[in-house]
């Protein structure tokens, strides 16, 4: 009986592997596992981003620092936001100092941690966008405020947390182009003594 069972186990696994490969092959959008990987953009979950990230004078980051530009076009905002001191991140990852420069320029920060962690404390001005809740109404409302061509800085709990990378992949697939990840995360920001706040308000 053991021999029969093991043979059947092998058949089940082989069938699953075959179906899995076929399923993977037939899916129109290939899986993205790295924020650096070029992906086929798919429609974002929200219909029309409202450009409110950096538009028409109403744009002050929650830091209280007004953004220095109000462009609604596709000009690279990482460089146009403050031409005098443009941060030049290598790839999607930014250092704490580069992230702080972005923050001073009014670039939007996204907190990819859970809501509970966000409420306990977050970078002042950062919006909560948990990748596990990416398609929720709350998240859609936040995504609708982000312009696809403007820079975004994403962070999570630092160390080995993957939420920021996962969020970057989702946003990249949704058409967002200038995504920067602060791998050191919230702990490093907090330890550096930079501005933080707690509660629901960014």
């Amino acid at each position: 009986m053991l021999k029969t069972t093991l043979l059947r186990v092998a058949i089940i696994v082989a069938c699953a592997a075959g179906l899995g490969l076929a399923d993977q092959w037939r899916r129109p959008v290939k899986l993205a596992l790295d924020p650096n990987t070029p992906v086929v953009p798919v429609a974002p979950p929200s219909t029309t981003p409202s450009n409110s990230q950096n538009t028409s004078g109403s744009n002050t980051s929650a830091t209280g620092n007004p953004a220095t530009t109000s462009n609604q076009n596709s000009t690279p905002p990482a460089n146009s936001a403050n031409p005098e001191t443009p941060p030049k991140p290598q790839g999607p990852n930014v250092t704490l100092a580069q992230a702080y420069d972005f923050w001073n320029q009014g670039v939007t920060f996204l907190d990819a941690r859970t809501k509970a962690e966000y409420l306990t404390g977050h970078i002042r001005g950062a919006k909560l966008l948990d990748p596990n809740e990416f398609t929720s109404d709350e998240s859609r409302a936040i995504i609708a405020t982000l312009h696809p061509s403007l820079p975004l800085v994403i962070y999570c709990g630092g160390g080995d947390c993957h939420a920021s990378e996962n969020l970057a992949i989702f946003l990249q697939q949704a058409g967002y182009q200038q995504l920067h990840i602060l791998h050191e995360g919230y702990p490093a920001w907090k330890n550096a003594g930079y501005d933080i706040t707690a509660g629901e308000q960014p």
Partner: protein, 170 residues
Amino acid sequence: MSNRDGSAVGSSAALLLVRVAVAAAFGFSAWQKLKPGIPPVTGPQTFALSVKSYQILPEALVSPAAFTIAWVEAICALLILTGLWTRAAATTLGLAVVAFTLGVISVIMRGIDITCGCFGKFKFICTGPVSWCKVGENSIFLATILVLVMFGAGRWALDARSAAAPPKPA
């Protein structure tokens, strides 16, 4: 009805209950991993990122592994529900759960801060990042699955029908 028949009916009913519970849990888990979702957040995409976050498999194997795991769960759930090849399906799931648990222990030992991704965004017992709670939760699943490995599907199953079928004439 004799005592022996009554006992057999009782144990078959218990086994049917266990089969339905295991099939429901792993069928739901498979659906969470395979569902189309709302792009870009599809079931396979989310689960593949979860598999990657364990930092055990090389990146080239992450996507095939994610799809294979999901389909193993789906096939085993269907087999267990119908009672066909029950012991084999339960053994496969048991081995999978053992592998998942070793992965969880590895993550805990390395201090990696991840969420499980086992049932999509739904949680059964444990919430938050992967912890020893998840090992306990998996142990409960494993114990339930072992019941099927040891006792089979009971009389209300396709296995019982095929076992009771008269031998073909020579």
